[in-house]
């Protein structure tokens, strides 16, 4: 229940407060940040609950195609879970890599589905949006990961090695 609430809260913030944080018309993806942080720190079940709540709400209230975000986010959380099992979670490289991977995955799959329905944006715009969002997601997501890591584990990522 806590994770469903978290997903709903992140959706509401992403649709109300976060749009004011657009830089050059580009906004970081709160959904991807949520997927990465909740899956890496909470595991598959918690990651799925929080992210899919977010995805369902985005589809329901702001999407043209019902189910498109749900489809993409299910794939992302599953992929994140599979990859992160093999990696060292205390390294800051892990969230950066996962944010990179998830953003790329989201836009590629989203682009392909939209292309099927004849709603895809031009490829040049797609590349520009994806590149800018990648940078923004890694910055914002990295920051959120550090804060969430401290809240969950009680220490900074990587500090246990010292």
């Amino acid at each position: 229940m806590k994770h469903i609430g978290l997903g709903a809260l992140v959706f509401i913030l992403s649709a109300t407060i976060f749009p004011f944080l657009r830089i050059g018309g580009i906004l970081f993806s709160a959904g991807i940040v949520l997927a990465v942080v909740s899956t890496l720190l909470g595991g598959l079940r918690r990651g799925m609950l929080a992210t899919l709540t977010y995805a369902v709400m985005q589809d329901m209230f702001l999407s043209r195609l019902l189910g498109i975000n749900l489809t993409v986010y299910i794939m992302i959380v599953w992929m994140l879970h599979r990859i992160s099992r093999e990696m060292y979670e205390e390294s800051m490289t892990l969230p950066a890599l996962m944010l990179f991977q998830a953003t790329l995955h989201y836009h590629l799959v989203y682009f392909l589905i939209m292309k099927v329905f004849g709603l895809a944006i031009p490829f040049a715009a797609f590349l520009r949006i994806t590149a800018l969002e990648l940078a923004y997601n890694i910055l914002a997501g990295g920051l959120v990961y550090v804060i969430a890591f401290r809240l969950v584990k009680g220490y900074k990522p990587g500090s246990k090695n010292v």
């Binding site: 709903a8 959706f11 509401i12 913030l13 992403s14 649709a15 109300t16 407060i17 976060f18 749009p19 004011f20 657009r22 018309g25 580009i26 906004l27 993806s29 709160a30 959904g31 709400m57 985005q58 329901m60 209230f61 702001l62 999407s63 043209r64 195609l65 019902l66 189910g67 498109i68 749900l70 489809t71 299910i74 989203y110 589905i113 939209m114 329905f117 004849g118 709603l119 895809a120 944006i121 031009p122 715009a125 949006i129 800018l132 969002e133």
Partner: protein, 275 residues
């Protein structure tokens, strides 16, 4: 879980998701009871957060735009000079306009949209993605909003109501919906008309009915009243010609007057089926 069962479940999930997409792509006539109720709760929370965001945006925005204001001020002074000249020119044609107004009355044309059909609304949630410009407003079927109602703001045409809940409605911009809008030029002479369509490239293209139509870059276009949009709403201005070699049609790129990312308040014109 056995592999066969797992694969069946995955297949079923893919089928359900694809079906949902196909159904919603062709437009649903209404939303489900659950969506409506979840929307009512979510949007009341969104309304609070949106209010907080708008409040801080109004307070903080001037600090970020100090330099932009200087340039804007210079532009406004130039515009002011141009408007003074325009004013003199218009004064000369005032008599002509008075005569036209008499004619308009005589023809029993409606000058403005019936106020009973107008509903004021606040934008309470915006698409957090970077692809589209859809948003949610804080009025729904209980206020008389119906699917296909026209959405405008102080600048001009914003879009259409796509789905309606009891206390909220989903709006899609004219650029995103890729539907056609009948237009006419905002000109007293050579006011040709035609159709504006959204393209796959998320641009607006106007196509004149008359292949010999003449226009200039910067000419304003407004809705002509043909189709679902009421007459007289500003759509945009012509920014670039299209030379596709065709002698049967004349086309140009149109820039919408509305900045879709900065919409906070809108007016909804209830959709009425033409008799």
């Amino acid at each position: 879980m056995p592999k066969v069962l797992r694969n069946t479940l995955i297949g079923l999930a893919v089928f359900v998701l694809m079906s949902l997409m196909v159904i919603s792509f062709f437009g649903r006539s209404g939303i489900t009871f659950i969506e409506d109720k979840i929307g009512a709760v979510t949007m009341s929370v969104s309304k609070f957060f949106s209010g907080v965001g708008n409040f801080f945006d109004e307070k903080v925005e001037p600090f970020f735009n100090v330099l932009a204001y200087k340039k804007s001020n210079e532009n406004l002074m130039k515009q002011n000079e141009a408007l003074k000249e325009e004013n003199i020119r218009l004064t000369l044609t005032r008599k002509e306009i008075a005569e036209l107004e008499k004619l308009e009355k005589a023809l029993n044309m409606t000058k403005a949209i019936d106020k009973q059909r107008l509903i004021g609304a606040n934008v309470i949630a915006k698409d957090p993605g970077n692809w589209f410009n859809s948003f949610v407003v804080d009025v729904g079927s209980s206020s008389g909003v119906t699917k296909n109602s026209t959405v405008i703001n102080g600048q001009g045409l914003v879009g259409l109501v796509y789905e309606v809940g009891e206390t909220w409605a989903k709006v899609i911009s004219i650029v995103d919906q890729r539907a056609s809008v009948a237009f006419e030029m905002v000109k007293s002479k050579d006011d040709f008309d035609g159709v504006i369509s959204g393209t796959k490239e998320f641009e607006l293209i106007c196509e004149f009915y008359d292949p010999d139509a003449s226009y200039e870059i910067g000419d304003d276009l407004m809705t002509s009243g043909i189709g679902i949009y009421p007459k007289g709403i500003m759509i945009g201005k012509i920014v670039r010609s299209i030379d596709d070699g065709s002698e049967l049609s004349k086309k140009a790129y149109v820039e919408p007057v509305v900045d879709f990312r900065k919409i906070k308040k809108v007016i909804i014109i209830k959709y009425e089926e033409r008799k």
